[in-house]
């Protein structure tokens, strides 16, 4: 069963000015981060249970916490996976989803099974690539998109050379 109390507790502890403004010793700052991470774990279980109940199907839900550095083992290896986007705002939002993926072409379908436009962008400073698609998510609700790797196809290799500037 999930539990949000540990995260509540961690957030309560982190109201201390040292946590808010970073005026603590390193090991204290590290411990603040540890408390938050420890609190987030049971919350993931809570979120998974809520999503399973609301969507009507039990899943092995996976939370990728390092999307901001394009790391997500599931989306980078799976040939088919689903993406649930939860919108906490009290109004519908359109949100560009970016997920690190392997070098393939993907088909993205919306909750009604209709294919939506998607794109694969290669990160110039690395050979990683990201799948982009725009998700429409209801107010205080969620949408489930499915992503399927198109067998046998890989994105056209575009070699964009860096535009070196004259050094000034």
């Amino acid at each position: 069963s999930g539990d949000s109390a540990p995260l509540n507790e961690a957030m309560a502890v982190l109201q201390h000015h040292d946590a808010v403004s970073g005026t603590s010793r390193q090991h204290v700052a590290d411990d603040y981060a540890r408390q938050l991470a420890a609190g987030w774990g049971p919350c993931e279980v809570l979120l998974s249970n809520a999503l399973a109940r609301l969507s009507g199907s039990k899943e092995e839900f996976v939370f990728c916490r390092c999307l901001n550095i394009s790391v997500c083992p599931l989306s980078q290896t799976a040939e088919i996976f689903q993406v649930t986007i939860y919108n906490p705002l009290g109004r519908k939002v359109d949100w560009m989803v970016r997920l690190p993926v392997s070098k393939h072409i993907f088909l993205v379908k919306d909750p009604n099974g209709i294919v939506v436009p998607s794109d694969v962008v290669t990160m110039p400073s690395s050979d990683r690539q990201e799948l982009l698609f725009s998700a429409s998510v209801p107010a205080l609700g969620f949408s489930i998109y499915s992503v399927t790797q198109v067998p046998g196809q890989s994105p056209q290799a575009h070699t964009s050379k860096p535009r070196s500037q004259k050094s000034s």
Binding site: L47, S57, E60, V62, I80, V83, R163, Q165
Partner: protein, 281 residues
């Protein structure tokens, strides 16, 4: 081509093809064009001087001179133009890069910066800022929020509740920015939304700066007992600034709605897709 731009239905951003830096922002919808120069700078952290032996540290921001130094006056760039995104990847140095991004339908310019590890081999602590310079005549005023709820008017070298004797012309004009900072000349407003709390200011008319990272070598003797000197994953920071250009009278609705979307951003949860029914039968 000589013209380097990215755009969508609402926004066009132009870059100097010589330097790779952002030089102009255009709101196509409201027919606004504003020369905006954005670059990264660093303040040299004070280690005390003849006026005061106070050093820059976890509690105290105190640069050792008023003018910050440019991280780099040019960037190596990559241009990515696809149906769902247009991006300019800017590489300023080994420890400072940025992606300037526009998605279809987006009414703000997204600047995703990555800074670190800040080099301190020269023995100098450094405080890194992202600064936007425009021609807006802002008359010493700028605006910062308080916890995303209330906007406070700030006036350079001034306090509303006492006669200020300004002894720190930079740090004395820095204020907490929880979600946004903006400047306006009464007709046009330039707003920068943050994805976390940062220090910010407007030290010259038409200019806005936000501090994105610090790496210091001395303790500021205010109780921590060690310098602000991360040694692990805190060496790197990656974050985003959302830049909005609007008419002054319509700017509020734009930045308020966008800031809410930023603060309460959607959560993405993945699953392999081999589901079993939750409810029996």
């Amino acid at each position: 081509s000589r013209i380097l731009t990215i755009q969508n239905e609402y926004i066009r951003a132009r870059f100097d093809p010589e330097t790779g830096l952002l030089v102009e922002l255009e709101n196509l919808d409201q027919n606004l064009l504003l020369p905006v120069r954005q670059a990264f700078y660093w303040y040299n952290a004070s280690t005390g001087n003849n006026l005061s032996d106070q050093v820059s540290g976890a509690y105290i921001f105190r640069p050792n001179r008023q003018e910050p130094l440019l991280v780099s006056r040019w960037a190596q760039i990559h241009l990515v133009k696809k149906a769902l995104v247009q991006e300019v990847h800017q590489n300023f140095s080994a420890w400072c890069s940025q992606v300037v991004r526009l998605y279809p339908g987006q009414r703000h310019l997204e600047l995703e910066w990555t800074v670190g590890p800040i080099p301190v081999g020269d023995g100098w602590g450094k405080e890194i800022i992202s600064r936007f310079d425009t021609e807006l005549e802002t008359k010493g005023l700028f605006f910062t929020d308080s916890n995303g709820r209330e906007i406070l008017e700030r006036r350079r070298n001034y306090r509303p509740t006492w006669v200020l004797n300004m002894t720190e012309p930079v740090a004395g004009n820095y204020y907490p920015v929880n979600s946004r900072i903006y400047i306006t000349d009464g007709k046009v407003q330039l707003t920068v939304l943050t994805d976390r709390s940062q220090g910010g200011s407007s030290l010259k008319d038409g200019s806005v700066e936000l501090m994105v990272h610090r790496r210091l070598l001395r303790d500021d003797r205010r109780g921590v007992g060690e310098p602000l000197l991360e040694n692990g994953s805190g060496l790197w920071v990656r974050g985003r600034h959302l830049v909005l250009l609007d008419k002054a009278q319509t700017a509020a609705v734009r930045h308020r709605l966008q800031a809410e979307k930023e603060l309460l951003a959607p959560q993405v949860v993945l699953a392999q897709g081999s589901s079993t029914p939750y409810h029996p039968g």
